[in-house]
């Protein structure tokens, strides 16, 4: 069996991979949790878990989806612990989260707020696709959905964003 992350070389390769992916893993966790501190905790825990289990990963190409799975599980665990601390999204927008209070441009800020307000069912596959570069088949695997269901969610996510941002969305088969 191929074990790409075994031994000293494997340790180095895995550490390098984690360093490369860490910024996007953090972003993914942020958009999952919509909270910077939670995202940092999730990524920290997830990478430690991944490190301990790295030799179970047989295919280097599968590392990214594998890490996303660990982050999603860790987020679910942390979410259970912190559920009582959460606040409504409307209260977060523009006040609690620095990511929504400042951006390079007003346009980016508007899009960020619109994504922030999307329901989890739409936001998560969209982030997986656009930020993480997962195929719809990979997203379906992550979310336990059919590929057709993923396509529907992605379509609706974009329509909702278009509407929120003032673009036309009607008459497009939603």
């Amino acid at each position: 069996m191929n074990v790409p992350f075994a031994g000293k070389d494997g340790e180095s390769a895995f550490a390098r991979l984690c360093d490369e992916l860490r910024p996007d893993l953090f972003r993914f966790a942020f958009w999952l949790a919509r909270d910077r501190q939670v995202a940092e905790d999730v990524v920290q825990e997830a990478l430690l878990r991944a490190w301990r289990s790295r030799e179970s990963l047989a295919d280097e190409a599968a590392a990214k989806p594998w890490l996303l799975t660990i982050i999603r599980r860790e987020h679910a665990r942390l979410y259970e612990r912190k559920r009582h601390e959460t606040v409504p999204v409307d209260e977060l927008v523009g006040s609690e989260s620095p990511e929504l209070a400042a951006a390079e441009s007003q346009q980016t800020l508007d899009v960020r707020r619109a994504i922030f307000a999307l329901e989890d069912d739409y936001r998560e596959p969209l982030v997986m696709q656009v930020l993480m570069g997962l195929s719809t088949r990979e997203i379906a695997g992550q979310l336990g959905l059919t590929q057709a269901a993923v396509l529907t969610r992605l379509f609706r996510a974009r329509q909702k964003l278009r509407r929120a941002l003032g673009g036309a969305a009607a008459g497009e088969g939603e």
């Binding site: 000293k8 340790e11 180095s12 550490a15 390098r16 984690c18 360093d19 860490r22 910024p23 996007d24 953090f26 972003r27 942020f30 958009w31 940092e40 920290q44 990478l47 430690l48 490190w51 301990r52 990511e99 951006a103 346009q107 980016t108 899009v111 960020r112 994504i115 969209l126 982030v127 696709q129 656009v130 930020l131 195929s135 719809t136 396509l151 529907t152 992605l154 379509f155 974009r158 329509q159 964003l161 278009r162 941002l165 673009g167 497009e172 088969g173």
Partner: protein
């Protein structure tokens, strides 16, 4: 393929359309415009998703804090990364690269709206952003720009423009980091193109056989102003 089917596909995954959908967009101006809007929306979404990530060592646990990765291994890892970068650089500089023309056509195949004829100009704000990211200015004599996008090409973000001409739409890619020794002409898969050294890199102009590439290339070369980046 019907328009409704196309729009559901383009609205769900605009970056990865099936060949049938690409053909539909090439033949249907309305759907080509819809696809252009979806790709522009995706660009905005991607920019919005890239929130600042913790970057400094102080903000995140060092690799050496990971169990099992002691100080000696950390130095070994650092040395291996340096060695990797050196080897990678040598390979990049010394190794063969794929044909630039082939890569350009591959890129176009993923953006079928490139060959949609239209009289509608790109939104000024979008065009300005694409030009700014590409480190260029474009004078009006280039012609009507109907499409502008910052595209990933060979690991770089480059301006991808479509200029409408009497001979049909022509794609212009501004390649700051690709500099052929001499102008290159090519004719592949129904596309005719020229890659001309310009500024610090080159400009590629691609269209169909009917397009007046020579004239368009000259016009674009004269209209592009390279900025220091």
């Amino acid at each position: 393929m019907q328009c409704l089917e196309f729009r559901r596909a383009a609205g769900a995954d605009p970056q990865h359309l099936e060949p049938a959908a690409r053909h539909h967009a090439a033949a249907c101006p309305g759907c080509a415009e819809y696809l252009r809007q979806m790709l522009a929306l995706d660009e905005r979404i991607a920019a919005a998703l890239r929130i600042p990530a913790p970057g400094g060592r102080a903000e995140r646990p060092a690799l050496s804090s990971i169990p099992g990765l002691d100080r000696r291994r950390w130095f070994a890892l650092a040395a291996s990364i340096v060695a990797g970068v050196l080897v990678g650089t040598l390979l990049w500089v010394g190794g063969p690269r794929n044909s630039l023309a082939h890569d350009l056509i591959e890129h176009l195949a993923h953006e079928p709206q490139a060959l949609a004829a239209t009289t509608r100009p790109e939104e000024g704000e979008v065009l300005a952003r694409v030009l700014e990211r590409g480190g260029i200015r474009l004078r009006p004599e280039a012609g009507l720009v109907s499409y502008a996008s910052s595209c990933r090409f060979r690991g770089r973000t480059v301006p991808h423009l479509v200029v409408q001409t009497d001979g049909g739409p022509v794609t212009v890619m501004v390649l700051r980091n690709e500099r052929p020794a001499a102008p290159v002409s090519f004719d592949e898969q129904g596309y005719t193109g020229r890659i001309v050294p310009a500024g610090p890199g080159s400009i590629a102009v691609i269209g169909t056989a009917a397009a007046e590439l020579e004239q368009v290339t000259a016009r674009v070369l004269a209209a592009v102003e390279w900025l220091k980046t």
